[in-house]
Each structure stands twice: as C-alpha cells, then as structure tokens.
Amino acid sequence: MPHAGRSARREGPTLESVHVALLELQDFRSYRAAEITFDPGISVLRGRNGEGKTNLAEAIGYLAAQNSHRVATDAPLVRHGAARAILRGGVVRADRRALLEIEINPGKANRARLNRSPLPRARELLGILRTVLFAPEDLALVKGDPGERRRFLDELLTARAPRFAGVRADYDRVLKQRNALLKSAAAHRRPPGAEMLATLEVWDTHLAKAGAELLAARLDLTAALRPLAAKAYAAVAQPGGDAPDAADAVDAVETVETVDGASPGTDGTGATGPWIADLTYRSSLEGVELSTDRGKLADALREGMERARRQELDRGVSLVGPHRDELSLTLAGLPTRGYASQGESWSFALALRLAAFELLRADGDDPVLILDDVFAELDAGRRRRLAGLVAPAEQVIITAAVPDDVPVELSGAAYDVAGGAVTRVR
C-alpha cells in the first residue's frame, strides 16, 4: 500500500505533487537505448552488481540537477564510443505533463528542450523536477573533506532557487581570477607594487560581493537544516525514533544553542544522548559575528582579506571566503569525523538528505526520492525506520542488488535490470 501514507503527510494545500512517469536513455552510461515508465509511489529496481541500476538513478538525478552524484565531469556519462547522450524525462506535475530533454555533450554546453522547444540555456530546465538522491557516495558527506559538505549546501541552494547556480559560478570565477593574480605575485617573490595591490583590491571587492551572497545563503540554509537534520537523525537512529517524540531530539539541540560558538554537548548541559546530531557552519572569518546581512558580510570578508594579505601573497592562494568554510557535524557533541561508527556516519548522511527533502517539501514541492543502495549498511531497526520516513513521498525510486535488503514497507512496483534492459515484473 505505497499510497496509503501519502495523503496523510500532505498537510498544506500548497504542496504540488510531482513524479517521473517516463525515463528514456540514449547512449547514457551502459545504456544504448532504454525506456522505462513509472507510477507514483514506490518503484524498486533490482539487478546484479554492474547491471546498470545506479546508472538509472543517476539519469533521473541528472534530469533534475544537471549534474551527476558520482562524477564531476560529463564524459563518463556518455556511453563508451558514443559522441553524446540524450536523456528524456516525462514529468507529471499536478496533472500537467512536461517533457524534459537534455543532450549531454561532454566539453561543450548541454542542449535542452522543454516540451520539444529548444531552450536558450540548459539551465532553464532546473527546478522543473526536484530530486533528493541518497547514494553510497553520501558517506563522504560525513567522512570526507569539507568540500563535500560545501557542495551539499550549494547543491541544495540551487535545488531551492536555481539562480544559485549562477551565484556559485560567479564566485568560482572571481576566485579563479584572484588566485591567478596572487599566484603571479607569489611567483615574483618581491614586494608587490602599488599597481598590483590596487588590482588585488579590485578582486577583493568582487570576491567579497559574490562571497557575501553565497555565505548569507549558506548561513540561512544551515539555520533551516539544523532542526530538520537533528529530527531526521533521531528518527532513523533512535529505537522508537519514528514516534512523535523524536521531536525531543530537536528540543535538545535547541536548548544547547551555542553561546560564543562552543560546540554543544561539551558544555555539561546534559544534552548528550547518542541521538543528538548537530551541525554548525564554521566560516573562514574567525572571530567575526556572522549575520546574514550581505553588506556586513561583504565588509567582514574584505577585512578578512586585508588581514590575510601577507599570507595570501606568500602562498599565492585566497585564504578567506566561503570556499574555505566548513559545515561541522557532531553526534552527541563529538565530531563525526574520527569518532562516529560506520552505521552512525551513514545514518547522519541519510539525515542530511532527509533534512534536504523536508526543506524542499516545506518550499511547496514534493521532490522525487531516489534511494540507491542505501539499506545494506543499516541494522534492521534503522532500515525499518528509514522506510517509514520515505514511504509517504509522492514517488520513491529504489535500487537494490539484494532485493531482501529492501524493507517490506517499501515493496512497490518491481523492475529487473539486466543485460542493458529494464523490465517491469510487478
């Protein structure tokens, strides 16, 4: 009964139901040509290792966000020997159908069409379909470098408001220019002249402006995610955590609201249960009080760059700005990196994705959930509780190499993935 819970969860009248009804692949990854139809509710893609299940999950994710959760460049997405890949997605949103098409041309701009009309920029397809994808790679959100967590934040920003793709691109461009300048200054090894410093100040201004916008958005986002992630972690990890009193975990986080940035759980307030997950945004602007006022943030960034001037000139890289920031994660007050167990790390990663899902829902959209191989590393209780959390979504697409890993709560339509073809079996 995959649909049973859905109407129960749909509180506000503003929530627009969205699902993928059709997925067509041409020369994408291992697929020469494939076509799959989906219903709302739960679909399970089953198949042996290497048959192409994740490739399908990746394809749906790409239609939504125009990036892959596995690779940074597009070349591996195109079937070996083919020149380009084409993805088509039939998306049903509140009973209206839209056909999204993307032609992936590695090294060149992608081309996109909406309902068969070419779009001037592929970017304009963003926002029509929203997905939240859970994948084994998400473990890096917890165990990996700060860059993984920054990317998580920025991708979520873009999913909520596509214009952030532009903000991020602008920031990266300024950063590249500024680093090029610092690098050439560092290479000269003599005190920079007045002209060089004047030029650097120009880049300071632009980095501060673009950086402030990104930073303000990330701070807002972190504030919104914090209670949701705490709640989701407790709901997955705490035995009986899917019960309503999982909200206790959120209260616990809120009562230890940090004073002067000290990490919660270490200050003896007692809120140190093993289900207390927390996240804090740590800026490269040490000792500066962070508001979300962009003007103030820009000033703070510029001052930070001035303070770091000598060091930056010596090392030839930009040391201040959102590209150096960290979203630090703690469980019961201890940093997850170096402390959390495998299952705990994985549960935290899931909690971050679940929080993203809740946030997008709060924006009035029902994102399609994609669960790629997520159950294998969880104990039976956590599997069941995760299943309970995702089942109410409008559409859930699940992949599994071992079908028995998928909790019974999530038995919906089933597809066999084998030999480059996808067949519906139930």
Partner: protein, 199 residues
Amino acid sequence: MYEGVVQNLIDELGRLPGVGPKSAQRIAFHLLAADPADVSRLTEALKEVKDKVRFCRTCGNVAEAEECRVCRDARRDPHVICVVEEPKDVVAIEKTREFRGRYHVLGGAISPIEGVGPEDLRIKELMTRLADGTITELILATDPNLEGEATATYLARLVKPMGITVTRLASGLPVGGDLEYADEVTLGRAFEGRRLLDV
C-alpha cells in the same frame, strides 16, 4: 600533416580566433580550390588592412589616419569619454546613436588568468587624456561580465580623486556576455540609464 605550404596555411588559419584545427583545414582546402581572382581579393584585403589601418593615437580605435573618424569629428562632445574594451564595441555603440562624445579603447579587460593586468591596457593613455581637465564625465562601457566589471572598478577608483563624474552603463545588458551582443535598443537604453559608480 600536409606538404609544407599547405600545412603552413592551415597553421596560420588555426591561429585566428574561433578557428579550430578542423575549420582551419576546411578553409585551407576551400582556398586551394577557389578561383584565383577570389583569393587575390582576399590577400589584397588582408594586405590593405595592415598597410592602411592603424590604431588612433588618441583613443586606440581603428583608424585610417593618425586619428580615427570620431576623434577627428569636431562636432563630437569633447567633455565626455566612453571607455570600451575593443574597437568592435565602438561600432556597437555608434549604431545606437545615443552617444555623441569620444571613445577610449582599452584593448581588453583585466584578467589575471590570461595574464592581463592594468599595465597591459591603454590606461596610461587614458590618464593622460584626463589630465588637462577638459573631460567632465567618463562612461565605463566595459563588457557586462566579471572581467569588465573588475576593469570598471579599477578605473573608477583611479579616476575618482580627479573629480570626474564616473558612470557605468545601466544594468539590463545581458550579463556575462559581450557588449557587442546587445541589440541596439538595449544598448541605447543602457546608455540613457547610466548610473553613477561609487567605489
């Protein structure tokens, strides 16, 4: 690889902006097969452009004399200078018929990635033009992309202490692009609505 002279031609063509190795090869073979008269006209045009056209000693625009047409035209307002990156931007702005002042062509924009700093642009020449006090307004019409904006910021800071009004074309221009891609109406409006630049 082809025989020496053919390969030479392909190599030379390949150095032109926007011409990749494939196109260079296609153009080369097109020329090989073309009517000799057509090719002569092309070589003539190439030679002439190098012999006759140079850069205006005042503003850096392309010119057929010491000075370009705009600089020689006494009817143009001597109090306003519009700063652009390339001569093609002068053409784009002239088409709008909104601007009656003079130009200054920088020859590019600040871009550390490409190794272009202020010293590589015609900024000293601009400062010399501004020194005698005739100029009251400087319009910064560098491209509406990051490098153009950075160049505008740099110039504005340099010129501000001289008491000259510094303005920037109004937004509404396609962001991230080249000035020359803006249509006449948009560009004309951007001129009309130019705003003071404070830095």
